[in-house]
C-alpha cells in the first residue's frame, strides 16, 4: 500500500469545507457560509479571494472593508506561508482534475500532444481577466469561473454548474493533461505568481534520489521538478501546489515538506 496520507488529508479538508458550505445552505449552520470567493467563519470572520476582490477593484468598485480585510488576510496567508496551497488543499476543482489526471494514467490516455498549450497561458488569461474587468465593469473571471460553478452545483444544485464541470473534466481527461489546473485557471496563475516565496516548500535531496522518475509521473506541474536528481534544493517554482504527491510516491525518501526562509529565485 502506497503512502497516501497527504492525499487523504487533502481530500478530508476539501470535502469538509464543501460539507460545511452545504450545511450552511440547507441546515443554516453558521460555522462556514458563502463560497470560495467570499465566506464567513462562525458569523464573524470574513475571508475573501484576493483575486476576485482584485477584479472587483479593477472594475471600478471599492469593495466593503470586511471583504477587503478578508482578502488581505487570505493573501498574506498564501504569500507568506502556503504558496499555491489553495489549489491542492482547498479548491474543489482539484478533486475533479485529480480524478481526470489519475484516469488518464490508468486508461493510458497518453498525451501524444495533439494539443499543446503553454503553461504560461494562465498568466495571459490572468492579465486578460483584469483588462476585461476594467473595460466592461464586471469581475470577468468570477462570472465564468468553473470553481464557483462547481460550488453552486454542489451547494445549490445548479445543473448548468455540473455541465461546466463536466467540460473541464473531459478536457483534462482526453485533450490536455492537467489542462485546467495546470494551464488555464487564472486563479492558479495568481497564486503561482504571488506565492513563489512562501515558507512552506517541498525540499529535494539529491543524495537519496535514484532517478526513478516516479515523482514526475504524479506531478501535475511537472516543470517545477526540473531540479530533481540534479541538485538538492527546494522546489522553488511558484506553480508547485504543495500537494505532496511527490513526497508520497518517493520510495527513496528524497522529497519532504520543509520550511524555506531564503528569498533566492
Amino acid at each position: 500500500m502506497k503512502n497516501m496520507k497527504f492525499l487523504l488529508l487533502r481530500r478530508i479538508i476539501q470535502l469538509s469545507i464543501l460539507f460545511l458550505f452545504v450545511g450552511g445552505n440547507y441546515f443554516g449552520w453558521e460555522l462556514l457560509r458563502g463560497n470560495y470567493s467570499s465566506a464567513i467563519i462562525a458569523d464573524s470572520l470574513h475571508l475573501s479571494d484576493p483575486y476576485a476582490v482584485l477584479q472587483i477593484l479593477v472594475s471600478g468598485f471599492l469593495a466593503s472593508s470586511s471583504v477587503l480585510f478578508g482578502a488581505l488576510l487570505i493573501f498574506l496567508i498564501y504569500v507568506l506561508i502556503g504558496g499555491r496551497m489553495f489549489c491542492s488543499w482547498i479548491c474543489p476543482m482539484n478533486i475533479i482534475s485529480d480524478i481526470a489526471f489519475r484516469l488518464r494514467r490508468i486508461l493510458k490516455i497518453e498525451s501524444d500532444s495533439k494539443v499543446s498549450l503553454s503553461r504560461n497561458l494562465r498568466y495571459y488569461i490572468l492579465a486578460l481577466s483584469l483588462i476585461v474587468s476594467a473595460i466592461f465593469g464586471l469581475a470577468a473571471f468570477e462570472i465564468i469561473s468553473p470553481i464557483s460553478m462547481l460550488h453552486r452545483a454542489i451547494v445549490f444544485g445548479s445543473g448548468a454548474g455540473w455541465a461546466i464541470v463536466a467540460v473541464v473534466f473531459l478536457v483534462d481527461l482526453f485533450i490536455l493533461k492537467a489542462g485546467w489546473c495546470g494551464h488555464i485557471c487564472p486563479l492558479g496563475g495568481f497564486y503561482s505568481l504571488v506565492g513563489k516565496q512562501a515558507v512552506i516548500k517541498v525540499k529535494h535531496n539529491k543524495e537519496k534520489c535514484t532517478n526513478c522518475m516516479d515523482c514526475f509521473d504524479v506531478c501535475v506541474e511537472e516543470p517545477v521538478l526540473s531540479i530533481v536528481g540534479k541538485k538538492s534544493d527546494y522546489i522553488r517554482g511558484g506553480a508547485c501546489t504543495n500537494c505532496g504527491r511527490c513526497i508520497e510516491v518517493c520510495k527513496d525518501d528524497a522529497m519532504k515538506y520543509s520550511l524555506k526562509f531564503d528569498l533566492k529565485k
Binding site: 445552505n25 470567493s37 472587483i56 471583504v67 483588462i131 476585461v132 468570477e142 453552486r152 445549490f156
Partner: protein, 263 residues
C-alpha cells in the same frame, strides 16, 4: 549565424503576433459574453441592492444573501437565465419578497452590493420599507377590477395595504348601479416586493413588478411646478447653472426680441 538570428527574430515576431491575436481575440470574445450576460432587461435584485451597474461590479457572487433568505425567494442566476451568472435575483410570481423586518439578505452581504445604507433615510435606522426593488405596474385591460368585477386580491395581499396600493371608486357606466373598486399603485411607497404579483388571480398577472428604470419616467429639468413653492425656486438656480457656452439671457428673452416682434 545570420540565418539563425533571422530565424529567432521571425520566431519572436510570430510569438508576439500570436500573443496579440490571443489577447485581442480572447478579450473581445470574453468581453462580449460578459456584456451579453449583463444585458438582462428584466431582473429584480434583493432589497438594498445598488443600482444595477454598480451592483454588477460589486457582487462577489458568494450566495450568502440566498442562503440567508428564509422564504427561498432569492435565487442565484445560472448560465441560460440571461442574468449575470451567480448574481442573486427573484421572481415574484413564483416567490415574492416578504419584506423581513431584520433584512437578513441585505445584512449578510459582505461586499457592499446589498447595502443597508440604501435602506436608510437620513438618520433613521435601516428599514425594509425603504427598499425599492422595483415598482408594481397594472395592466388595466387584464385586471378584473377594471372590468368591473370585484377582486381586490392585490390590494388585500399588499403588505402596505392602503399605502402602496389604494382603491379608487368609480361608477360602473355599463351597469349604471355598481361601483368599480380600482387598485392604484403609489410609487412613493411601493417597495417592489411583488406580493401583489403573486396574489393576482389572472392567468398571467395583471399587476407585476418591473425594475425601476423600466417602470418610471423622468421629466426634464426645465419643467417646473409653479404651484409648489419649493420647486419654483429652481427657476433662479437653474439659470445660474446653465451651460457657459450658451447665451442664457438671449435664450430667456428671445420671445421679446425685437426681431421676432417685427416679423
Amino acid at each position: 549565424m545570420k540565418e539563425e538570428s533571422m530565424a529567432t527574430r521571425r520566431k519572436v515576431i510570430q510569438r508576439m503576433l500570436e500573443g496579440a491575436v490571443f489577447m485581442g481575440g480572447g478579450g473581445l470574445l470574453w468581453g462580449k459574453s460578459v456584456n451579453a450576460s449583463t444585458k438582462a432587461d428584466y431582473v429584480l435584485r434583493p432589497p438594498g441592492a445598488l443600482k444595477e451597474k454598480q451592483f454588477l461590479k460589486a457582487c462577489i457572487k458568494c450566495g450568502q444573501c440566498v442562503e440567508a433568505c428564509p422564504y427561498d425567494t432569492l435565487k442565484l442566476a445560472e448560465p441560460g437565465d440571461g442574468i449575470a451568472n451567480g448574481t442573486p435575483f427573484f421572481e415574484p410570481r413564483t416567490i415574492p419578497c416578504y419584506l423581513c423586518t431584520d433584512m437578513p439578505c441585505t445584512d449578510s452581504c459582505p461586499s457592499g452590493a446589498l447595502d443597508l445604507k440604501a435602506l436608510t433615510k437620513e438618520d433613521e435606522k435601516a428599514d425594509i420599507l425603504n427598499s425599492r426593488m422595483g415598482l408594481a405596474v397594472i395592466h388595466k385591460e387584464s385586471c378584473l377590477a377594471y372590468w368591473g368585477i370585484r377582486c381586490e386580491a392585490c390590494y388585500r395581499a399588499c403588505p402596505l395595504v392602503d399605502k402602496a396600493i389604494t382603491l379608487d371608486y368609480e361608477v360602473n357606466e355599463r351597469t349604471g348601479k355598481h361601483a368599480k373598486l380600482l387598485p392604484i399603485v403609489h410609487s412613493d411607497v411601493c417597495t417592489g416586493c411583488g406580493v401583489c404579483e403573486q396574489a393576482c388571480v389572472a392567468e398571467k398577472a395583471a399587476i407585476f413588478v418591473l425594475p425601476l428604470d423600466k417602470s418610471t419616467g423622468e421629466v426634464g429639468d426645465h419643467y417646473i411646478k409653479s404651484w409648489e413653492k419649493k420647486d419654483e425656486q429652481r427657476i433662479n438656480e437653474d439659470v445660474e447653472k446653465a451651460d457657459d457656452d450658451k447665451d442664457v439671457k438671449s435664450a430667456i428673452d428671445y420671445l421679446n426680441d425685437d426681431d421676432l416682434i417685427d416679423d
